[in-house]
Symmetry: C2
Subunit: 430 residues, 2 copies
C-alpha cells in the first residue's frame, strides 16, 4: 500500500528544534513512512549561518536562500522553526503560494497574524498546523480543536511558560526572592540572557491569544490579551499565598463571560489553591487546565519547551499534514465562526488578595471597608496585623470586576491612613 | 460555504451517555453545524425499551429495530453506545456494510475485536473512532494516535478506572479498609451493584489493550493483558506505602521492553511515589501518564466516566467523522505495522515491596536474603519489626523480572521461619 515517491520536506531553521526535527526524520524514517503511508525526505534546510556544522544534516541540503527553497515547487511540506515575525511570515505565505503545506512552531507570528496565515492556507487548499507553538510537546491544539469539537469550552487556565514557572516554583519552595530565583534559572539555562519575553509575560500572552482563538472559535489577537509580568512578585506574596493555602503561578487565562456573549484573555501572576491540579506543576513544566460544559475539567501536562519536546510536536503535525497530502484533503482550518467580542480587562471578574500598609490606629479598618463598599467590591476576609504604629491589612474580596477593583485601589491610595498598597494579586482556580 | 443537506446520525443506545449525546446534538446544533460545515440530524435512536420516556428525543425517531436502522442506507454516522460484545459488534459491522462510519464508546468490544472492526471499516472506506472508549472525556486516543505520531512512545501508565481510584483514594485518605471504601463508593453511585468489572481490573484491562495497541502500533488483545484486581489491598498496605513515601493506585501499564523488541500490558495495584503526578489524582478522576523518546513525560487528566464527559468525547469524534465524510476521506485507521510480540507477565521487570510474617529469632533475615539471592533478585532495603515472638520483614527489591520474583516468593513460602507472605506489591513510576 506504500507509495514510493517520497514526500518532500523543507526545513526553515536548524537550531535547537530544527536540528532535532532533522535528526528524528533520519533515525525514525521507517516509522514515519509506515505511519504516513509514504516515505518523507528532507529536501532542503535553510539556515542563516551555513558554516556551523550540523550533525546529521547532509551539507548538500543546506542553503541560505530560504525563499528559493520554499519556491522550488516540489516541496510538499515546509517546516518553519525560525521564529519571529519576518522573514517567517513572508516565507510561510510564499510556501502556500507554491503549493506547500506548513508546520510552524511560531507562537509570536500565529498570535499576531494567525487569521491572515489561515486565510492564505485555505486560499491555496493547504494545511497550517502549529501544535508546537503552544506548550511545546503537550498535545493541546489538536485536543482543543478536534477532541473538544463537540463541546463548549468555558475556560482555559494555563501555565504556558516554563521559565517563569521554574522561577516561581523556586521562590515557593526555597523562599528565595525574584532576582535570586531568576539568577538560578539563568545559570541553569532555563532563562535567557534577556528574560524579558518570559518574565514580562509576552511569550505567555502570545500563547493565550492562540488558545483563546481555538477554544472560543473567535479571533483573538495578541493586542487583545491583557498582560502583566511576574517581576514584582515577592517572597512576602508567597508567604501571604501560603497563609491562604495557595501558591502563585503566572497564568494564561482565557474565559468565556458568564452570559456567554464575550470572551477575555489575560496573563498575570495569580494565587491558586494548593488543591488545584495546576498548583503542583513543578519546575519548567507546563500544564493547561480546560473547563468545558460536557467534559468538565481536563488537564494536559508536559514539557513546554526544549528541542526534543518541541520536535515531537512538530513531527506529529508533519505526519498529519503528510497524510492529508496523500489523501488530497486538508485538516480543520481556522474556526472563527463564533466571532465573539473580546472584552477589555476591566470586565474581567475574579477575586483579589490585597495587602495594605496602614496606620495602626482605630477606625482604619472601617475607612478601608467603606471604600470597598462604595466601589461595590464585597469583602470576603480581612486580616489585620500590627507592628510599631504601623499595621498591615490583608483583604480578600469576593468576585468583582477588574474595573471596580482598580477604582477601589485608587481610592484607597488617597486615604491618609493608607501608607501604601503593598501588593494586589488575583485569586484564580477556585 | 455550508452544505444544506444534513448529515444523518443513528444513535444505538439511549442510556446515560446516549441521551446526553442526543441532548447536545439538539442544544448545540448550530455550533456543531458551524464546526462540521453542514448540519447534523438525529435520524433514529435504537433502544431496547421504547416505553421509557427520553426527554428531548422525539418519539418518532425511537425504534427497537437497531438492525433496520443501521441498514437504512441513508445513515452517515452510527454512534454506538450500547456497550458489550453483541449485538454491538454485528451492528457496527452492518453499519460499515451499509456505508456508515462509526463512533463507538465500547471498550470491551474494541479490546476484543478492534482489529476485525478496523479491517471492516477500511474495507468499506469508512471511519471507526472511539475516543470515548478509554478514559471518558480525556483526549487520549487522538493525542496518542496523531499528536505523538512522529514520536516513539515507551510507556503508558494510567489510572483508567474511576471507581477503583475513588476506593483507593478513600482508603488512603481515611485509613478505611477495602470493604468500607467500596460500600461508600456504592452508596455514592461510583460503584455498581456488582463491582466486579471495576475492582477485578477487567475494565482497566480492556483500556490497557486499546492504549497499548495505539501506543506501540501493535495489535494487543484483551487476552494479552495481565490482570490483577485491587480487592486484596489492605489498610496495612497503605501504611507500608506511606512509610515508603508512596500511595497505591490501580494502574494500567503498557511498556516497550528496554531492547525495544517486545511490549507488555498489565493491570494491577501498585505503589507509586507521592511525587509522581499520578499520585495526586483524586476521587473518581482518571489520568494517563505517557513517556516518549522526544516529548518526554506527558500527562492527560480528567473525568474518566459519566454521561456528559463521555458524550463530549463521542461528539468530538462525531465532528471529526462528519468532516471526513464531507471531504470524502477517512482519518487514520488501525496502525499495527510494528507488530511487536506481546511478552508474558513473567518478562515484566519492575521493583517489589514484600511483607513477610516471620519467626522472631536470629538467622531469619539471613535465610530470607539467601532465597532472594538464589533467585537473582537483588534487595534494595529491608525493614524488620518484632512483636511477641513474631516479626514482620519488609523487603523492597531492585528491578527484577516477575518470573524471578514469583520463584522467590514460592521458595520463601517453603521456609519454616516464614509464617506467611502478607503482601506483594509492585513499585512503579520511579
Amino acid at each position: 500500500m506504500m507509495r514510493t515517491r517520497p514526500l518532500k520536506v523543507a526545513l526553515l531553521g536548524c537550531g535547537v528544534v530544527g536540528s532535532e526535527v532533522a535528526r528524528i526524520m533520519t533515525t525514525h524514517a521507517d516509522d514515519l513512512a509506515a505511519r504516513i503511508g509514504a516515505p518523507v525526505e528532507l529536501a532542503g534546510v535553510a539556515v542563516r549561518r551555513p558554516d556551523r556544522v550540523r550533525e546529521g544534516v547532509p551539507a548538500e541540503l543546506v542553503t541560505t536562500d530560504a525563499t528559493a527553497l520554499v519556491k522550488r515547487g516540489d516541496i510538499d511540506v515546509v517546516v518553519e522553526v525560525i521564529g519571529g515575525i519576518e522573514p517567517a511570515r513572508t516565507l510561510i505565505t510564499t510556501a502556500f503560494e507554491h503549493g506547500a503545506s506548513v508546520v510552524s512552531a511560531n507562537k509570536a507570528l500565529l498570535a499576531q497574524d494567525g487569521a491572515a496565515l489561515h486565510a492564505a492556507a485555505e486560499e491555496h487548499g493547504r494545511d497550517l498546523y502549529y501544535e508546537a507553538a503552544v506548550a511545546g510537546a503537550i498535545p493541546l491544539i489538536r485536543p482543543l480543536r478536534e477532541s473538544l469539537a463537540g463541546d463548549k469550552v468555558n475556560r482555559v487556565l494555563g501555565i504556558v511558560n516554563g521559565t517563569t514557572n521554574f522561577i516561581l516554583d523556586k521562590m515557593d519552595s526555597t523562599g528565595a526572592g525574584y532576582q535570586e530565583a531568576l539568577d538560578e534559572a539563568t545559570a541553569l539555562g532555563y532563562a535567557e540572557a534577556d528574560p524579558t519575553a518570559d518574565v514580562e509575560g509576552f511569550d505567555a500572552a502570545a500563547k493565550a491569544a492562540i488558545l483563546a482563538g481555538i477554544a472560543f472559535h473567535t479571533r483573538v489577537r495578541l493586542d487583545d490579551v491583557y498582560r502583566e509580568g511576574m517581576t514584582e512578585v515577592t517572597a512576602a506574596d508567597f508567604a501571604s499565598a501560603k497563609e491562604m493555602g495557595c501558591t502563585i503561578k503566572l497564568l494564561a487565562i482565557c474565559e468565556r463571560a458568564r452570559d456567554g456573549a464575550s470572551v477575555t484573555a489575560r496573563v498575570h501572576p495569580a494565587m491558586i489553591p494548593l488543591s488545584h491540579p495546576l498548583a503542583s506543576v513543578r519546575g519548567a513544566y507546563n500544564a493547561v487546565f480546560v473547563e468545558s460544559d460536557a467534559a468538565g475539567q481536563l488537564m494536559f501536562y508536559g514539557p513546554g519547551a526544549g528541542g526534543s519536546p518541541t520536535a515531537s510536536a512538530v513531527l506529529g503535525d508533519l505526519v498529519a499534514v503528510c497524510r492529508n497530502r496523500l489523501s488530497g484533503t486538508t485538516g480543520p482550518g481556522e474556526s472563527a465562526y463564533a466571532a465573539l467580542p473580546v472584552s477589555p480587562m476591566g470586565d474581567v471578574v475574579t477575586r483579589y488578595h490585597i495587602s495594605l500598609d496602614v496606620a495602626d490606629k482605630p477606625g482604619v479598618l472601617a475607612q478601608v471597608a467603606t471604600v470597598f463598599a462604595e466601589h461595590g467590591v464585597s469583602i470576603d476576609t480581612v486580616r489585620q496585623q500590627g507592628k510599631d504604629g504601623e499595621a498591615s491589612l490583608v483583604v480578600v474580596t469576593h468576585r468583582a470586576s477588574d474595573a471596580a477593583l482598580s477604582g477601589t485601589v485608587e481610592a484607597l491610595r488617597k486615604l491618609d491612613t493608607v501608607r501604601g498598597v503593598a501588593s494586589i494579586m488575583r485569586v484564580e482556580g477556585e
